[in-house]
Amino acid sequence: MIIHSIFFYFFSIIAIFSSLMVITSRNTINSVFFLILDFISVGCLFIMVGAEFLGMIILIVYVGAVAVLFLFVVMMLNVAEQKNSWFTGKETKHIHSGLIVGNLVLLELLVVVGGWKYKDDLMSSSTLILSNTSNTHQLGLVMYTDYVLYFQIAGIILLLSMIGAILLTFREREGVKRQSYIKQISRNPASAVELKDVESNKGVKIDD
């Protein structure tokens, strides 16, 4: 198992290092790149404990889609603006709210870690049937039977948030020219082109 522990320490050191770099690096883009590195190493750790499905899903969803959109947004921001951060000594307005949120998350983590001892009293023991099936099968067996309602509710919440985001950013503007594909395709030369004899010094009136 030496190889196993070497790989474990390798990935976990990268994960911790990159998560520290996410919050300390001055350049926002570098932060996002380190976040991606963090996601990847956490995905590798998942694969190492045998949860290959979760590891791959982390790679696909977080690294392949979410982080791309992160990068997308951050690249649009003015990077130079972000340089007056915590470490340059200049005051910014966000630190107070950030501290509150950070402390709350820390508190929650402590509660979770502390409550882990009483897990057996609070929850019924796992319904997973440990056999030699792949963990994709096991996940499917649990998720679509015992927890199907939670699964559906999670899906509906995601759908609602998507509709909400679209609704928030949608605004109807005047004078937007839209293209109708049906119209574009169904045009033919007979109706689209008209030949006219132009008399000199008269010009032609084009109706537009």
Partner: protein
């Protein structure tokens, strides 16, 4: 300790045995692409270097190696150099799970198809990093276009993969191929095959969806500032990715290494040959389409991805699931 080193040595040998044929075939396939492109346009294409011009790509590669690498003064140097390396690496590591025959596969993992999907969805990073690090307008516009394009088409590829998985009942690539022993999925899932093929074109930035590098608007898109070997790495990575998509298509729909019909003289042909023939067939279609289809407009591309492919593949997914359920053909796993 010695034992570990021995295992490591064996693994490295196996990896080299996989990588070198891939790099050589990428070189050959670039030649094939240019040749088909030329023949469609009634030109000869590359035909001077070596027999039939086969060594053209090698000559090009040699030229790129000896060219100077120019890094723009205002570029972010680390990310700029990292981008082509990431593109190339991601294009190559995905081949680890592609089975060329029932035994000939580097690593036979349970979630093979998810691994392929994950690696191909990471491919966007090389492009986005290259475009941003160049610190110049055209590469950045190209990178943003490509990010939006690849994320959109991944969605429909994902749903197409779910379609196939419903029929197979396993994420393992070998199981997917073996499940097609009687009937290749290209027949029952033909519309999905067509959509997969078009999405693969968009995913690899091939014409008619090569908007990230549309030369009329964006010079060369994200590759504008790259030169020498770094450009060549982008280029090799791109073609390795195209071959990968062809391999994925042949595994999901064309029965992988299985022969066309399992009768006496035909099934004597070794399975890797069948796999290669199928990959080459799909690549030939890629090359033909490059030559005969004009480039899409950006809004048309987005509309095709989100408003046509996504709903259609979702509806087909529901149809497949109901068909399998109604006729009691759902795969029975071993649990």
């Amino acid at each position: 300790m010695l034992e570990y080193l021995q295992i490591l040595g064996q693994e490295i040998y196996r990896i080299l045995f996989l990588l070198i044929p891939i790099l050589v075939s990428v070189a050959m396939v670039v030649w094939l692409d240019r040749r088909v492109w030329g023949l469609v346009q009634k030109r000869r294409g590359p035909n001077v270097v070596g027999p039939f011009g086969l060594f053209q790509t090698l000559a090009d590669a040699l030229k790129y190696i000896f060219k100077e690498i120019i890094i723009p003064a205002s570029a972010n140097k680390v990310v700029f150099i990292l981008a082509p390396i990431i593109t190339m690496t991601l294009a190559l590591i995905a081949w680890a799970v592609i089975p060329m025959s029932e035994e000939l596969v580097l690593s036979d993992i349970n979630v093979g198809i998810l691994y392929l999907f994950a690696v191909s969805s990471l491919g966007v990073y090389g492009i986005i990093m290259g475009g941003w690090a160049s610190n110049s307008k055209y590469p950045f516009l190209g990178a943003i276009r490509s990010a939006a394009q690849m994320v959109s088409y991944e969605v429909s590829i994902g749903i197409i993969i779910i379609n196939v998985l419903l029929c197979v009942g396993s994420l393992n690539l070998k199981d997917i191929v073996l499940a097609q022993k009687d009937l290749w999925y290209v027949i029952p899932l033909f519309p999905m095959f067509v959509i997969f093929f078009i999405s693969a074109l968009a995913e690899t930035n091939r014409p008619p969806f090569d908007l990230p590098e549309a030369e009329a608007e964006l010079v060369a898109g994200y590759q504008t500032e790259y030169s020498g070997m770094m450009y060549a790495m982008f280029w090799l990575g791109e073609y390795a990715n195209i071959l990968l998509m062809c391999a994925m298509g042949s595994i999901l729909f064309l029965g992988g290494w299985l022969p066309i019909v399992d009768i006496y003289p035909i099934n004597l042909v070794p399975s890797p040959i069948w796999m290669m023939l199928k990959i080459l067939f799909l690549f030939f279609l890629f090359a033909l389409i490059k030559a005969i289809v004009p480039r899409y407009r950006y809004d048309q591309l987005m509309r095709l991805g989100w408003k046509i492919f996504l709903p259609f593949s979702l509806i087909y997914l529901v149809l497949t699931a109901s068909f399998l359920f109604y006729f009691d053909k759902l795969p029975k796993g071993n649990f």
